[in-house]
């Protein structure tokens, strides 16, 4: 652990010396993906000192496959019931200055660790997150998410970072100062979105968070509606739970307050517009109202295409664009359900259903 208050500067050599970093990979029945994740960690230009796979009582070969590749596998006595539970179980095993959260279905580009760690040179920064791009873009859901990520990470998140407050340090790939993480209690299972909870908790405790666009992670995104349903249910309920939990303390953080207010408004109003107002207008007033579903398409395409060109993925982005509008309707539906359940009925969803 680092000395309290002292800047902990990661050693950044050119030789393949291990970083003062532990990678925590929570896993429950991830035999199909865990090897790719561990391999990508081992292949880092600046690899973590230790790879800690938390086998959350899997019933498949997750543990054996991870162990075979050289990862340390730890197992809680019983299934923790959430990603946060598994991560916090592993946190007590960490003795390095930095800790990295990586999902078991996520791979990192070879220079991701080397690129992201310098963000923590500033002692005021407690966490840093990277760019997220879906590893596969085969189905309509994966393509929709691909466009969402290009939009969010190429424009919104960069602006948030410029103003010193990325909204979320993404759960699939983030690096933390271990001491600070332990001080704030690690990852909490009190909401279904542990990454939002942790990021906002860090801000409230006076710590900073950075977004490093050059550090790239590639998760597997939901390929079917069943997985989309599980993920969006978790995300939407988790967001509402975090707004309820944190809103009062966020009010005093100016930029974050504005971002959360705007996000909350969009999250609450958009489902009503998409699922109620536009169809009613289309039937009762004019079918031209249906244009409302895609009227912002050209404007949204600008940041997406700028990023796609720089990644040499223009064709993929153009082909994927229609899927974004399909996914947006699914987002609207599940967000409406979350607003209804969490805010109006005050019945918080507590069951963590796994989905990529």
């Amino acid at each position: 652990m680092s000395v309290p208050g002292a800047p902990t500067i990661p050693n950044l050599p050119t030789s393949p010396v291990a970083a003062d970093l532990t990678a925590i990979v929570p896993a429950f029945n991830e035999e199909a993906t865990i090897e790719a994740t561990v391999r990508s960690l081992l292949a880092q230009t600046f690899p973590p000192q230790r790879i800690l796979v938390v086998d959350d009582c899997s019933t498949d070969a997750t543990a054996e496959r991870a162990r075979r590749l050289g990862a340390t596998v730890v197992s809680p006595p019983s299934n923790t019931g959430s990603k946060a539970g598994a991560q916090s179980f592993a946190l007590r095993e960490v003795s390095t200055s930095y800790v990295m959260a990586v999902d078991a279905d996520t791979t990192l580009d070879p220079d991701a660790v080397e690129t992201i760690l310098p963000a923590l040179r500033d002692p005021a920064i407690a966490a840093a997150c990277g760019f997220v791009v879906p590893r596969r873009t085969r189905t309509v859901w994966e393509r929709g998410r691909y466009i969402e990520y290009l939009l969010a990470f190429s424009f919104f998140k960069r602006v948030q970072d410029h103003f010193g407050a990325p909204l979320i340090s993404s759960g699939c790939f983030s690096v933390y100062r271990t001491e600070t993480l332990a001080e704030v209690g690690g990852w909490s299972a009190r909401t279904l979105a542990e990454d939002v909870d942790l990021t906002w908790t860090l801000y409230q405790a006076g710590h900073g968070v950075r977004f490093v666009a050059a550090a790239v992670s590639r998760p597997l995104e939901p390929h079917s509606f069943a997985f989309v349903r599980a993920q969006l249910t978790r995300w939407s309920h988790g967001l509402m739970q975090n707004v309820r939990l944190h809103w009062r303390r966020i009010l005093h953080l100016r930029f974050l307050r504005s971002v959360v207010a705007v996000l909350f408004w969009d999250a609450v109003v958009a489902p009503v517009v998409f699922l109620l107002v536009l169809p009613v207008l289309a039937v009762l007033v004019t079918p031209w109202a249906l244009l409302g579903y895609a009227i912002d398409g050209p404007a949204l395409m600008v940041p997406v295409l700028v990023e796609a060109v720089s990644r040499r993925e223009l064709g993929r982005a153009l082909v994927s664009m229609p899927a974004f509008f399909v996914l947006r309707m699914a987002n609207a539906w599940f967000m409406l359900a979350a607003v209804w359940g969490e805010l109006l009925l005050r019945r918080p969803l507590t069951v963590y259903e796994k989905g990529h």
């Binding site: 995300w235 998409f274 031209w288 244009l291 009227i295 949204l300």
Partner: protein, 141 residues
Amino acid sequence: MAAGVPGVGIAAIFFVLAALWAVVAEVALTLRGQSSLARWKVVSRQAGIAAGVAAAAVLTSVGLDRLAGDRGPGAAVGGVVPLTLLLTSGVLVLVLGGAALHRVADHGRGAAAALLELEERARPTAIGGASEAEPAGRALA
């Protein structure tokens, strides 16, 4: 704005304005010698995207105007984009203003709660007339 969250444009307008505002802020920082080339690269890239988003919205409006022509009720469709932008911007101002007011109100509530707490401590209790601020014996005397 964030993956999984549907939007009706408020977030987009907010971030377009924030990206353009960042240029102004960066000019001020540069004059004070606190900026850098790296910061300017980020700011100009984001401002360029923001300008592109604004231009695309204008072009969409013009395009719809031409497309609609004089075809009955659709003729007004070109005006929908400026109207929507205006409405959305108005809502954005209300949302941001509301959040800021909420903070002030919450701050006021915090201060009022602190005052109430002090008053509670100083107020004589119902039984015996003692207050928490004074030892019970003195109050009774």
